[in-house]
Symmetry: D2
Subunit: 226 residues, 4 copies
Amino acid sequence: MKLKTPIIIVNFKTYSEATGEKAVELAKKAEIASKETGASIAVAPQFVDIVRVVDAVEIPVFAQHIDPIKPGNSTGHVLTESVKEAGAVGTLINHSERQLKLSDIDAIITLAREKGLISCVCANNPTVSAAAAAIGPDIVSIEPPELIGTGIAVSKAQPQVVTNTVNLVRHINSKITILCGAGISQNEDVSVALKLGTNGVLVASSIVKAKDPYSILRAFADATKP
Amino acid sequence: MKLKTPIIIVNFKTYSEATGEKAVELAKKAEIASKETGASIAVAPQFVDIVRVVDAVEIPVFAQHIDPIKPGNSTGHVLTESVKEAGAVGTLINHSERQLKLSDIDAIITLAREKGLISCVCANNPTVSAAAAAIGPDIVSIEPPELIGTGIAVSKAQPQVVTNTVNLVRHINSKITILCGAGISQNEDVSVALKLGTNGVLVASSIVKAKDPYSILRAFADATKP
Amino acid sequence: MKLKTPIIIVNFKTYSEATGEKAVELAKKAEIASKETGASIAVAPQFVDIVRVVDAVEIPVFAQHIDPIKPGNSTGHVLTESVKEAGAVGTLINHSERQLKLSDIDAIITLAREKGLISCVCANNPTVSAAAAAIGPDIVSIEPPELIGTGIAVSKAQPQVVTNTVNLVRHINSKITILCGAGISQNEDVSVALKLGTNGVLVASSIVKAKDPYSILRAFADATKP
Amino acid sequence: MKLKTPIIIVNFKTYSEATGEKAVELAKKAEIASKETGASIAVAPQFVDIVRVVDAVEIPVFAQHIDPIKPGNSTGHVLTESVKEAGAVGTLINHSERQLKLSDIDAIITLAREKGLISCVCANNPTVSAAAAAIGPDIVSIEPPELIGTGIAVSKAQPQVVTNTVNLVRHINSKITILCGAGISQNEDVSVALKLGTNGVLVASSIVKAKDPYSILRAFADATKP
């Protein structure tokens, strides 16, 4: 599976507005925005909701995390195979709210590759993004944690962070898809992100907690057009 | 919700024999064994599979873990509400393969109580079982980690561990349901566990990895009868 | 070794005012306050500073943490034997800034007992204090994390938390030494803590960051007198 | 401070043979071997023993770990400043027995640089070594965990692992010092490691648990000579 870029990935986190049946509703809105605009939009619901969301929509579904484990004795952990069989096409890895040991990131990227899941490693700064790129995931997403959920977009407030990330990552691996996230809340934040050399955005609260998630997503989708 | 005891809880762990569609099939076998015998049997599938299993069977479904979080910014974590909305009636907590900080166990038991989930805290020895009981969960399950998956049953190999646990836990809280697990693989292991004063067993590999899980479960179910 | 109570334990944390040579100076001030008043005062410096502090003073020295390990392959961990040989007489366990898994708390208390170290388990609320007491440490210290470093004393702002802790802990184990901490900054906070049934206090910033740590400690020491 | 290479770093781990006074004795033997041969040898004792070892010898002393914290409220953690003030010149980071989150490795390398400590990041395979190198430490040390403590040397059993690491790391940063470790137990293991392009070795059990640590170290030291 290959994702079309530019792409918008919507992280549902553990927001009540995106849990259970509401996760399905939100995913449907994302699908409509994607179909109407032709823009590439993916969603990342909670583990428990993956099956329902996959059943309800045709846009790509990501897990928010998988564990560095093989089938067996790992009660309470997330098995790559369970996520894959449920129909997810990829997974976030090392989100700032679910950070991982370096060797586990490496192990998870390998597992994802073996099982045919797209790997999207999150990183908190350009240096860490470069380190993540050196491991060879499909996607690296730079998200300065201090901007997450603030509405102050990384692409506008810290354009040099995005540019540095793009330069460092491209130097190590010219083919990796690069996203940025944190504070993305206006269409312009999306278009600026693309101009800075990224291939899309990772968004959450600006969509999930919006009064009208469809309208915001629709505007973001339009902003990904040339 | 109140569980009927004696009870057998089947932990699906992350075994491939109990992932995805196979989780549903195994849960159906557990349901048949339960209906035929009238014995109380619950299943604990992986997070991703909870929805499917709940849709397929009427026996109680447990999560294998939940996180000490409220709705919000907790990417990659397991929200009590997501598990509850999916139809689970309870959750394992602090399984030896998913151990938790003491204060997190307390927080999770509180969350489970608030949201109406049955809390089953696992403990590795009698002392830790007593500490767990002091926090006030619905169920405490003693499982010496060195016996897990061995086929050497705690109830037969270490009856004093079970007896000590029952005594220490009852001294702190006379109403808590007490289970034991680790190595339970023969009907006799189940009946001995009950004779030692427990209210049931927590089992995994002896069922999940059996050639004929139904037969084993059926025998275990019969062994819970007076 | 048996500590004299009532006791004041001064946690040096990782404050620069209590690192290296400054740890030694601060410990000497605590020793003077102890000798002048006859009050029992102990200090808990950083790992690296234990040797220096033990060499410089005769009052009891605690580690801030030890790991649940035996001698061997545990690079970067804190071995009970290393702390003991350096001359510490006890250790904090599960401080709110260094929380531990339930089974590790149990393992550490056992290690401390075997090696002759006094174990002081910290807990964030009365329920967790009761659970800690059930494991059988020498000391339980209740510290509501939201008050730590605020100057709002647990003994004055939340007397019921202290009283509940004392009742729950005494019910489980009548001999355990009980301390309280968080926000203790006035002599009166100390005397109230004792009146509520505790055997002393665990303090940090009010001493370590004071302009004149000796004076404050001296006043706290006086407040422990009948 | 700049280390002379080739270098042998002796990790004392938490072995009883290298705890307390025995840590001092072992460090003295390493110093003798270093002075007699002119070879560069450093030692990494436990936190508690750093002060004693630094007082006793003139060879470079490393910590086994530091935490990603600044001075303040971090009870039970290891402050860079405490290690520096004790006289250590560097620190191991992310040893396979003390693995860290990716962003914490980045934060610790930054802290070490700011405080003038040499940073040595350990990695379990060539890919992870490359990722570590991208963060910019002074030293990267490759140690396949499955060979640690076996006496089967990485340099002889898996020369391609060492060669791949050297190539990947050099491609990212041509100036980083590269070590290898795991199973190094013969002089030849040391000389082969250097021939494969490394700048030294990280050793532990073969020295610490030897009947005559001096002789082994002396032989290793000779093997670093051209």
